[in-house]
C-alpha cells in the first residue's frame, strides 16, 4: 500500500515537472521543482553570490579554470545550489556550464579543446563568469559578471617532474656507460642459462636434421619486446645459416613479417650464404589471435621442429604454443616482458628469459660492447631504485611522508 502511494506521488511529481518544463521558458527544468509550482513564492529572491575569482589550472594547455565565489553564510540555507555560466565578454551570451551544491563555492570549468564543441574554451584567452543562486522558493538571483579571468597554457607538466628526472638521469647513465664501453672498458656480465642454451639448441636441430621455429609473438613492430626479438632473431638466423639448417618464422603482423625478412636475409648474407635465403622462411599466417595459434600448432605438428624460440610479446597463446611444442619434444627457449605469461613459459619451456632478460639477450649473444654498456646502465638504474626504496621505507617508518611525494606523479 505504501509503495503504491509513493508510486502515485512520484507519478504526480513527474507529471508536474514535465508540465512545468513545457510551459516555462526555463533553459533547465532542474530549477523548477515541484515545490516551487505548488506553493506561491512569498519569500524574496535569494541573496546574490559575490566576489567571483578565477584561477588558471596548471599543467595543461589552458583549457581549464577554477572559478570561486563567496556567499553570505546566513543565506546558504535559503538556496538549493548554484549554476555557473560562462561567456567571452561581460555583455556577451552566457552559457550554462554546470551546477554546484549550496555549500560548494567553487567550480572546475573543464573546457573542450576543439573548436566545434559547444563548450569550447580557447587557451590564453579571457572569460567572464556569472553565478546564479537558486532559491528554495524557485527564484533565481544572478551575480554580477566576474572577470576577465585568463587561461594560460603551460609548456611543461609539472606533475610529471619525477618521470622527467628519471628519464634524464637514466638517459645519462645509458649514454655514459655506452661511451665507456666504446673506449674498450671490459664489462663483466653474469651468464644467463637461456642464452647459453641457444647454441646447443640450434646444434641439436642440426644434428637431428630438423628445422628451428622462431615465433616473434603477437606484438606490433613498435613494441619494445618485438624490437628486442628482432635483434635476437638476427643472431639466431646467422647461426642457423652457418650450420646450414632450416629456419621457420611464421608471423602474426605484416610489418613484423617485413622487418623479420630483412633481418633474416641480412643474417644469411653475413654468414656468407645469401643464396640460401628465401622469403618462404619468413611468412605471414593470419592476424586473428587464435587462428594464428591454430596455424602455428599445425606447423609444429607437421614440420616437427627440434627447437622452438618464443621471444617477444605474448598473451594467452603462450601456454598453447609451449605445450604443443613440448608434446613434439622440441627444446624450447622463451622470453617475454608480459608479466602474466612468464609463469606459463617458466613451467612449460626448458629455458625462460624473465622480463628484462629478454631485452638483454641480444647484447649477450652479440657481445657487442655498446649493447653491453647499456646493461651496466640498467644495473645502475636498479641500484638507484633500490636505494630509493630503502630510504623511502625508512622515511615512511619515521613518518616523513614528504619523501613519497618526491616520487609520486600527479597526472
Amino acid at each position: 500500500m505504501r509503495h503504491l502511494l509513493r508510486l502515485f506521488l512520484i507519478l504526480l511529481l513527474a507529471f508536474v515537472v514535465d508540465g512545468q518544463s513545457v510551459y516555462s521558458q526555463e533553459s533547465d527544468p532542474v530549477t523548477s521543482t515541484a515545490d516551487s509550482v505548488a506553493t506561491e513564492p512569498v519569500t524574496p529572491p535569494p541573496a546574490s553570490a559575490f566576489g567571483l575569482a578565477g584561477e588558471d589550472m596548471p599543467n595543461d594547455n589552458g583549457h581549464k579554470l577554477r572559478v570561486k565565489w563567496q556567499y553570505p553564510a546566513e543565506a546558504v540555507g535559503d538556496i538549493t545550489g548554484f549554476e555557473i555560466w560562462r561567456a567571452t565578454s561581460p555583455t556577451g551570451e552566457f552559457r550554462m556550464l554546470g551546477q554546484a551544491p549550496n555549500d560548494y563555492f567553487e567550480y572546475l570549468d573543464i573546457g573542450n579543446k576543439e573548436t566545434p564543441a559547444p563548450d569550447f574554451m580557447a587557451n590564453n584567452s579571457d572569460f567572464f563568469y556569472k553565478v546564479v543562486a537558486i532559491g528554495k522558493n524557485g527564484l533565481r538571483t544572478e551575480s554580477e559578471p566576474g572577470g576577465p579571468f585568463r587561461t594560460y597554457g603551460q609548456w611543461f607538466h609539472r606533475g610529471k617532474t619525477p618521470v622527467l628526472v628519471g628519464v634524464v638521469l637514466f638517459g645519462c647513465f645509458t649514454f655514459y656507460f655506452i661511451r665507456a664501453a666504446k673506449k674498450g672498458k671490459e664489462l663483466y656480465v653474469r651468464p644467463l642459462a637461456g642464452i647459453e642454451a641457444v647454441d646447443e639448441a640450434i646444434g641439436r636441430a642440426t644434428e637431428m636434421g630438423k628445422p628451428t621455429l622462431y615465433i616473434l609473438g603477437i606484438g606490433t613492430a613498435s613494441e619494445i619486446a618485438t624490437i628486442a626479438s628482432f635483434a635476437i632473431l638476427g643472431r639466431v638466423a646467422k647461426k642457423i645459416a652457418e650450420y646450414q639448417t632450416q629456419l621457420i618464422v611464421p608471423c602474426y603482423d605484416a610489418i613484423v613479417m617485413s622487418i623479420a625478412q630483412d633481418v633474416v636475409r641480412s643474417s644469411y648474407l653475413q654468414a656468407g650464404r645469401p643464396d640460401q635465403y628465401s622469403d618462404d622462411m619468413v611468412y605471414f599466417v593470419t592476424n586473428a589471435q587464435f587462428a594464428y595459434v591454430a596455424g602455428v600448432n599445425g606447423i609444429m605438428m607437421r614440420q616437427r621442429p627440434a627447437t622452438n624460440f618464443y621471444l617477444g610479446y605474448f598473451a594467452a597463446e603462450s601456454l598453447i604454443l609451449a605445450e604443443t611444442g613440448n608434446s613434439i619434444g622440441a627444446i624450447q627457449i622463451a622470453g617475454t616482458d608480459q608479466i602474466t605469461q612468464i609463469p606459463f613459459f617458466v613451467v612449460a619451456c626448458d629455458y625462460t628469459l624473465i622480463g628484462e632478460e629478454l631485452y638483454a639477450a641480444s647484447a649477450y649473444l652479440g657481445r657487442d660492447p655498446l649493447l653491453l654498456g647499456s646493461l651496466k646502465a640498467e644495473d645502475w638504474g636498479k641500484g638507484i631504485v633500490m636505494a630509493l626504496i630503502v630510504v623511502g621505507v625508512v622515511a615512511t617508518i619515521f613518518g616523513w611522508d614528504g619523501f613519497r611525494e618526491l616520487i609520486r606523479v600527479n597526472l
Binding site: 607538466h157 618521470v163 628519464v167 617485413s258 636475409r265 641480412s266 593470419t286 624473465i354 628484462e356
Partner: protein, 207 residues
Amino acid sequence: MKRRVPLIIVFCVSLFMVIQYFVPLDSLERVYRSFLDYTIIIGVFALLLGIWSLCRVNYDKIKRKSENWQYAIITLTGFFIMTIAGFLSGWGRTDNYLYQHLFSYVLVPIQATMFSLLAFFIASAAFRAFRARSLLATLLLISGLVIMIRFVPLGFLSEPISDLAGWILRVPNMAAKRAIIIGVGLGAVATAFKIMLGIERAYLGRD
C-alpha cells in the same frame, strides 16, 4: 640514404614522442594523435604484403603438390570468400550475410575453442612440471597447489588454506611482480634509448 635517413627518422620521431609526454600543448597532442593514426594506416597498407605472402605460400603448396596441399585450397577459399563477401555489401558496410555468418559460425567457435584448449594445457603443464625436483620447483609446486586447492571443499581445513593462499597472493606474489615490473621498466627504457640513438638497429637489416 639507405641507412642514415631511416636512423634520422627514428631519432626524430622517438624524440618527439618523449617530448610530447611532458609538454601539454594542443599542437603537440594533435601531432601525437595523428602519428598514432599514421602507424595504423601504414599497418593496413603493409597488410597487403602479408596477404600476398599468405596467398603465395599456399599457392606454392598447391602447385608443388607438397604434403597436405589439399588443405591450402581450404585456406585460400576461406580467405577469398570472406574478403569478397566483406567488400560486396558496399563501401564501408560489413552487414553482408555471408561475412557475418562466417564470422559468427566459423571464426568465433574455432577461436573460442582454441582458446579453451588452455584448460587442458594448463592441466598437462602442471602435471608435468609441478614435481618436487629441486627447491625452486618445490616452491613453485607448493604455492600453485595451495592456490588451486582453495577451490576444493575440505571442511575445517578450508579456512587456514584460504588464509595461506591469501598470504601468498598478497606478500610473495606481490614482491615478485614488483621486482619484475620495475626491472622490465628500466630494461624497456634502456632499450628504447638504444633504438632512439641508433645503437639497436637490427630491425634495419645489415646490407
